[in-house]
């Protein structure tokens, strides 16, 4: 288990540029599933046939991460960038970046000696990215408008925690891959025909998953996410969204959707029966692909299960490995033999 998480978070793939993530997943699940298809939005759909083909379950995790795009090449050879997905400009200051995964770049920062106002927020309008080019002509030979820019962060784990970029939502992708491995290694079948949808473009407005669902026509769906913790020292526990170490996060409502009650309760019951530590999401901010699924076809009912992560949408998010394990166990139990 957790064989793929490190690779998945180290790879780069902003919304609309998920191809590297997809190739990686494809090459690792190729001979383990009954069918692999891709749709026009780039979703990767992997089917494992179940014991009972009367119902279809869709598992969904998005491949894309938040990042940036080159939106300007300046005369001095530096670049202007704009965020793809929600990235607070304050976490961009002085970061290391990669352009198209190959060119190293840094975010320029005026020395403290020359700029005394250190509480001012440096906005995207003034952020300059430097890669060593001395003018526009030179820069334009290697870097182009629309090029993908990502945080240059390497996965690291110690004891029971891990730090990386893009846990939102490579952690969901990783759990789906682990479940595919489980069926393959144990020559087992899920209860229902199970479609693992590795979705595109969640971060830019839940744009990927709908077209995949339209193809699959699932009876119900379970969305896997890496979600916000918010258990920072400035917040008292009553303001936390979740707490890392307290197990999988079960969501009853989030932005744009109250989750299907039956599915929610089924998930809660299953977690209780397994005797694992779990928690409810205590804030309703932030959305998931479940909101899109509810508005797709006949309105697909869905549940949402997340791994709590600190500092998502930043280059350094932290996750508890026991939370990952418990989330995996819960999702696996739901897929293996929980009747809906």
């Amino acid at each position: 288990m957790r064989k793929y998480l490190k690779d998945l978070t180290n790879l780069a793939g902003i919304s609309s540029r998920e191809e590297k993530i997809k190739e990686y997943i494809k090459s690792n699940v190729a001979n383990k599933v009954d069918e692999i298809t891709e749709d026009n939005m780039g979703n990767l759909i992997c089917l494992i046939k179940g014991k009972d083909s009367s119902k279809k379950l869709m598992l969904d995790a998005h491949m894309d991460e938040v990042g940036f795009m080159i939106t300007r090449i300046n005369e001095d050879g530096t670049f202007g960038i704009s965020p793809v997905g929600g990235v607070d400009p304050r976490v961009v200051k002085s970061q290391r970046l990669k352009i198209e995964e190959k060119i190293s770049a840094v975010v320029n920062s005026t020395p403290i000696h020359l700029e005394k106002e250190t509480d001012k927020v440096e906005q995207y309008e003034s952020i300059r990215v430097y890669a060593g080019f001395s003018n526009k002509e030179e820069a334009s030979k290697k870097v182009h408008l629309g090029d993908m820019v990502t945080f240059d962060t390497t996965y690291y784990e110690e004891n029971s925690y891990a730090v990386a970029k893009a846990f939102d939502d490579r952690v969901g992708c990783s759990i789906m891959m682990d479940i595919i491995d489980y069926f393959f290694e144990n020559s087992e079948k899920p209860l229902y025909d199970t479609y693992f949808n590795f979705a595109t473009q969640e971060e830019t407005g839940l744009r990927g998953t709908g077209t995949a669902a339209s193809k699959i026509h699932p009876n119900f769906a379970i969305v896997l996410e890496g979600t916000t913790a918010g258990d920072n020292p400035e917040n008292t526990p009553d303001k936390w969204a979740t707490h890392i170490g307290n197990g999988p996060v079960l969501t009853f409502m989030h932005s744009g959707l109250v989750l299907n009650k039956e599915i929610f309760e089924k998930i809660v019951d299953t977690a209780k029966k397994l005797g694992i530590k779990f928690q409810y999401k205590m804030r309703t901010a932030g959305g998931t692909d479940a909101a899109r699924l509810a508005k797709t076809l006949y309105g697909i009912p869905a549940g949402v299960i997340s791994v709590p992560c600190r500092y998502i949408h930043s280059p350094q998010s932290i996750m508890n490995l026991q939370d990952y394990e418990n989330t995996y166990q819960l999702v696996k139990q739901l897929v293996v033999n929980t009747p809906f």
């Binding site: 929600g86 990235v87 607070d88 304050r90 976490v91 200051k93 002085s94 970061q95 290391r96 060119i103 190293s104 770049a105 840094v106 975010v107 320029n108 920062s109 005026t110 020395p111 403290i112 000696h113 020359l114 700029e115 250190t118 509480d119 927020v121 440096e122 430097y130 890669a131 060593g132 080019f133 001395s134 030179e138 290697k142 240059d152 962060t153 690291y156 784990e157 110690e158 925690y161 891990a162 730090v163 916000t228 918010g230 920072n232 020292p233 400035e234 917040n235 969204a241 804030r283 901010a285 932030g286 600190r310 500092y311 998502i312 949408h313 930043s314 280059p315 350094q316 932290i318 508890n320």
Partner: protein
Amino acid sequence: MDTSTLLKNLSNTFGVSSFENYTFPLIEKELKNISPDIKLEKVGIGNLVATYGSESPKIAFFAHVDEIGIVISKIVDDHFARISPVGGVDPRTLVGKRVLFKTNDSEKTGVIGFLAPHLQKKEDREKSPSFDELFVDFSISGGTSSINVGDMGVIHVQAVELENGKISNKSLDNRVGAAVLIKSLEYLQNLKFEGQLMLSFNKGEEVGLVGAQGSAYHLKPDFAIVIDVTFGEKLPENVEPIKLGDGPVIGIGTTVTRSVFEELTKTAKNNNIKYQIETFTRGSGTEADVVQISSTGVKTGVVSVPILNMHSPNEVVDVKDVEESAKLLSLFALNTSLTWKGRRKS
């Protein structure tokens, strides 16, 4: 060792002010490689001084080896601790960074966390956090149980090569200076230098020019050059800009002795070394400010290497500028020694 590797190795070491003991061994080893007979000693508060040659004139090159950093000021709970700056640290440069803390026997990784946009309040978005609000999350390395107030840390990055011979890392201020000193010795070995060159690698510049004072007092050089980094970016409109890749920056003005400035520029011109000029109208912000007025006064010059993004984890230097600065210094030492002995015509 080639300059690029030397710069990377030096800037990768941990050396927050007062904690330079990981950087010194690397410098000592490199100096011994270049000149096996070089005399090494610790001076004053622990500055490393290397002496090459004997007799006079006594020429000293100064560079501080310490870097800015952060220090634990309060333990909040099992996971979190508060920090204060060591030297001039813009708190905004710390947000969303991985950090590394060192004690004498262990290393601890932490993360300076930042609330995800989903949970932020609108009114908090207009302001960047100050040191009162920043925190380090040590969950990743077993929590705060083995962390103590006073432990020192840095932003955990390693050197990276950018396009066109540029290197980016933390602590190029002033491992660049240390590299220039080392390289100048390497070049000087092939010249007919007849004097004594003392290389002083100093502690504690970033917290108030602490180390250089003692070295200058102890060494009593006839000539001193301070090597540091300077701003290679946009400066106020009334000041001439300095650019990466345009060569060493020679200081003029207060804290610089005019004859030393003249010797440096003459040396550069005679040897086709492209150089830039930086004006000091008050202090230079370098060790020259204390070296020049040490004891009965020292004839002092300043040679700086331009970098980008000073005091951030993304400082950038052009390797060529480092090599040209080292060349200029070695030729300065040679010419000064020849003039001293009356063997130079000009």
